[in-house]
Each structure stands twice: as structure tokens, then as C-alpha cells.
Amino acid sequence: MTTSTEVERRPLAGAAPARPRRRRSGGGYTVFLIPGVLLSLVVIVVPLLMNVGISLTRWQGVGTPEWIGLDNYTRLLDDENFWASFRNIIFLIVAMAVVPTLLGLVLAAVLFDYVGKQVGPRTASAFRSGFYLPQVLPVAVTGIVWGWILNPSFGALNAILTNAGLDALAKNWLGDPAYALYSIMVIMVWFQLGYPVVMFMSGLQRVDPELYEAAAIDGAGWWQRFRRIAVHLIKPEIYVVLVTTTIAALKIFGQIFVLTRGGPGNATLVPSYFAYQNFFEKAQVGYGSAIATVLTVIIVVLAVVFLRIQARGERRDLL
């Protein structure tokens, strides 16, 4: 890093404005990075490295950590809860990334292409706001809303079912291991759906209407136009949505904490709550750090792969 100081910068800019513009090595700007870089070091880089270090030790949070090498990681491989948490995450990726993306594509296309043109753009955007509303809630609040609706003793859903004479369908939605994960999945679809709808509808605005008309003249039906043209043109948005929602699924914590605390048993356990448990409830800090490190590696790999794909896509667009 090269840093030129205030003193040498000022007179140059004043007296000979042409010169600093010519040598564009960024001299004089580096100083502006200092607060941001310091902050990132203290809050992100150092803790992250500490976390990796702690994951190689046995430590209860007090006293001296005892170096045990990779033992925590080998222990993870034999831990049924660890595998359960990742199995559950796969279900949650389906609920938070795959289903909302597919459903969002169809909804966005119908809203933009059909409702927007046949009924009016205001109707389309009213629907869009409706689907988006759950997204504005704090995650913990979505947990509270659904925790109440699905409560086995006083919840709204069971009360509605009982009133309708469907007692047999009333279940302990979050307390029964047979239903808990599926209940969470439904909640997450509800929560996430608005995000792809909004993203895809804004992407579809780029689609040239003439392209659509030409395809229609060629005899392409609605579904074909949707698949061949719309889906193809909003690929960047689809990538962004898939990656950000997958990462969000990997990080899910708030709803699980409020709704089930990973239970019953490990039916809804997720890596972030599993790490939290080890940090703050079981005082197995080394083990918790190992879980957090594994999660971090997965997320970083995913992000890097995505950046690569995106960079390649941009290059192709330039050609």
C-alpha cells in the first residue's frame, strides 16, 4: 500500500492540476480506506481467524484453550446432530431458494406479462406488494407470528380446523418430529416468496416487447415465450436470487430460535443454532467454532463459485 500524505497532495492539486490526473495510481486516496480497513480488521478478520484457531482447541470459554488439532472436526463427522443439521438445511434450501425461485418466476411472469398488460400495471404492483409484505418483517417476528398460529394448545390454525369439524387434521405442528420441519418449510416459503417476485418483475422490464411479439407471430405460445425469452433474459436475477437465498438458508437462525430451538430432538436443528448451543448453552466453544468454520467454508465456496460464474457471464455478454 502506498500512502501519500496530505502535505504533498494539496499543492499538487492546486498548482498543477494536470499532473495528478495523469498518474492514476490512486495515490492520496489510500488514506480514505483506513477507517474501513481498521474496522474490518477488528470486527471481521481477527474474530474470523480467532474462530478458526479456537476450533482447533478444547475450550469452555474460560481458562486456557487446550490444543487438540483436528479432533473437533473428526468428532463432527461422527456427530448425528451435525449431519441432521445439514440434512435439515437441504430441506430449507428447497423451501427458501428452490421453491420461491420457481414459484417467483411463474408469479412474476404472470404479473408482469399478463396482469400488467391485460389489467394494468397498478394491479400488478399491488399484487407484488402483497407478496412482498412478509419480507419486511424481522425474522424473529415471523417466528412469533407463526409460533402463535401453529401453537398446539391455543394456536389459530388448530382452532380453525376444529371449528370446521376437521379435528383430525389438527396437529402439533411444531412439536411433532413428523411435521416440524415441514411446518418450518411452509413458513419459509411464505417468508421468501416476495423477494424473487420483486427481483424478477424488475428484471422482466428489460425484455424487449418486440422480441415477444416476434415470437408470438412465429407461433410460440405463452409458456414457450416465457421459457425461451423471459427466463433466458433474466438469468442474472435468477442467479442472484438463488445464491442469496441459498446463503440465507445456510445462515437461518432467528425463526428456528423462536419457533423450535432445533427440536423436537434434532428434527429442525440447523448449523447456526447448533453452533449457538455449543457456544452459549453447552460451553463447548471449540466444538461450536468448528461448526461455524465448516459453515463459513461452505458459504465462501458457494460465493466464490457464484462470482466466477457471474464474471464469466459478463465477459460473454461483452463479446
Binding site: 500500500m1 502506498t2 494539496r10 492539486a13 492540476p17 490526473r21 492514476r24 490512486g26 486516496y29 489510500t30 488514506v31 480514505f32 480506506l33 477507517p35 474496522l39 474490518s40 470486527v43 471481521i44 474470523l48 480467532m50 474462530n51 479456537i54 404472470v110 399478463y114 396482469v115 399484487f127 409484505l133 419486511v136 424481522p138 425474522v139 424473529a140 417476528v141 412469533i144 402463535w148 391455543f154 389459530a156 382452532a159 380453525i160 411464505w190 416476495g194 420483486v198 424488475s202 442474472p236 442472484v240 446463503i247 445456510l250 445462515k251 437462525f253 430460535f257 423462536v258 448449523p271 447456526s272 453452533a275 449457538y276 457456544f279 461455524a292 459453515l295 463459513t296 458459504i299 460465493a303
Partner: protein, 274 residues
């Protein structure tokens, strides 16, 4: 005729879907203003005979909700302002100054924002205890300023990379140094991007749960989501009290949504082109 029929069919299906999506909000609102006795006798779907605000008022007093709103507001507003300022500095150096190693810095900031907070939580918890910042709102503000500004840097750098060079040159000819150019030229011109960032940071910080849960353990320091979240499963929480607590969590979020709606939709699009 068939076109009209299919039009009504599409609209009917969409309307049904939106009703399903919005029904939890309606259920919460309906039962937050219902007396426990009425809930017990008539169930969750009945319209309340009269508006019953005692549940809401009791819950408000019990958790000192005004204090929680104030805490959330102070933390979110501080983070939003500070993170925007840090993002401006970083993006000025990376987007306009094009300092060496620019690409690496950008990748670093992007990854920093994506990292799971679990990987930072325990060391931050430990360090904050060591320096006496544990259980203070200041530590939450510092942490989220770092996390949010990482995203802001990434986004704003691409905005600043396209900043009109002529304006910078004009400022330089007028004898403005880099510091003056930043505040007199760059910031005013990029004001709309900055307001999008501010909105995002405010709402994201308001919604945060995991780290505030860890760092704010005393009641009087907690934010709205933490205070409401830790109460769930409490014995005191019956049906109408729970829906009252849910309503108190929902209302500020919807108010922000209405206030910031335009900025947000613009921002979601800005996110798409990153």
C-alpha cells in the same frame, strides 16, 4: 369470451394466493384486539365484538415497549449513518481513487458481508468482555457498522466507478483537495444512492436478531426483535397476548416499509445489477 374467462381465472387464483400470504397478518391484527374470553369462546376467526386494547396495553407496559422501540431506533439509526460514512470513504478510494489492489479489496468486502455471523460471534463476545463493551449498545453499533458497510462499499464502489470524471477534474481545477471534492461534489451527486444505502442499513439493523441476542442481555438494552423473541414460550404468553406481541413487532416494520417503499424498490433493482 374465453379470453375474459381466463382473465378472471388468473385474477381469482392470484387473489386467493395473496389472501393466503396476507392471512397471518390479518389473524394477528384480529386477535390482538380481542379479549381472552372472547378468543376462548369464539375462536380466532370471529370479528371482535368490541375493540379490546387492554392486551396490547398490558403487554406494552410489561416489556416496556417504548424503551425497546427507542433502543432499536438509536442502534439502527447510528449504524445507518456510520456505515454510510464508512462506505463513502471506502468507495471513494476504491471506485474513484482506484487504489492498487482494488479488486482484492472488493472481493474481501463482499465476502465479509456474506460470512455467517456465527463465525464471528464467540470471538467478538470474548473480545467485547475483555474491553468492557459486553452488554452495551455501542458494541452492537460497531459490529453492524462493519458488517453493513462491507456491503455498502461493494455496492457504492460500482456506483463511484461510473462517476463523471469531468466533475472531479473541474473540482481539482478549482483547487479543491480530495477531502473537499468528496464532500462538495461526490456526496451531493450520489445522494440518491446514499439514501438507498441508509434505508437498507436501517431496516437490516432493525431486523437483526442473532448478534443483538448475544450482546444485549439486560432487558433495558434490548431491541424490539430480541425483547419479543426471547419471550416466546414464556408461561405468561397466551393466545391474545402472543398476537398482541406479534402485532407490536409487525407495525414498525410495516411503517418503515410504507415510508421507504420507493427507495426500497429502487434498491432491490440496484442489488440486481451488482
Amino acid at each position: 369470451m374465453s379470453a375474459r374467462l381466463s382473465r378472471s381465472a388468473v385474477l381469482a387464483v392470484l387473489t386467493l394466493l395473496v389472501i393466503v400470504v396476507l392471512s397471518p397478518f390479518a389473524l394477528v391484527a384480529l386477535n390482538a384486539v380481542k379479549s381472552p374470553a372472547e378468543y376462548a369462546s369464539d375462536g380466532p376467526l370471529s370479528l371482535p365484538d368490541s375493540l379490546y386494547f387492554k392486551g396490547l396495553a398490558d403487554f406494552w407496559i410489561r416489556v416496556d415497549f417504548g424503551e425497546k422501540l427507542f433502543n432499536s431506533f438509536v442502534i439502527s439509526a447510528s449504524v445507518a449513518v456510520l456505515a454510510v460514512v464508512v462506505s463513502i470513504f471506502n468507495a471513494y478510494a476504491l471506485g474513484i481513487g482506484r487504489v492498487r489492489g482494488r479488486g482484492a479489496f472488493l472481493v474481501f468486502f463482499l465476502l465479509a458481508n456474506l460470512l455467517p455471523q456465527e463465525a464471528l460471534a464467540y470471538p467478538l463476545y470474548y473480545l467485547s468482555k475483555e474491553v468492557g463493551l459486553y452488554n452495551t449498545q455501542l458494541v452492537v453499533v460497531i459490529i453492524f457498522t462493519a458488517i453493513q458497510s462491507a456491503f455498502g462499499t461493494y455496492l457504492l464502489s460500482s456506483v463511484y466507478a461510473a462517476f463523471p470524471r469531468e466533475m472531479l477534474e473541474a473540482a481539482a481545477i478549482d483547487g479543491a483537495g480530495k477531502w473537499r471534492t468528496l464532500w462538495r461534489v461526490v456526496v451531493p451527486i450520489s445522494w440518491s444512492s446514499l439514501s438507498v444505502l441508509f434505508t437498507f442499513f436501517f431496516i437490516w439493523t432493525w431486523n437483526e436478531f442473532f448478534l443483538p441476542l448475544i450482546f444485549l442481555i439486560s432487558n433495558d438494552k434490548q431491541t424490539v426483535p430480541v425483547a419479543l423473541g426471547v419471550l416466546q414460550g414464556d408461561r405468561m404468553m397466551d393466545a391474545t397476548t402472543t398476537s398482541a406481541s406479534a402485532l407490536l413487532g409487525i407495525v414498525p416494520a410495516i411503517v418503515f416499509f410504507l415510508i421507504f417503499q420507493r427507495t426500497l424498490t429502487r434498491g432491490v433493482m440496484a442489488g440486481a445489477v451488482k
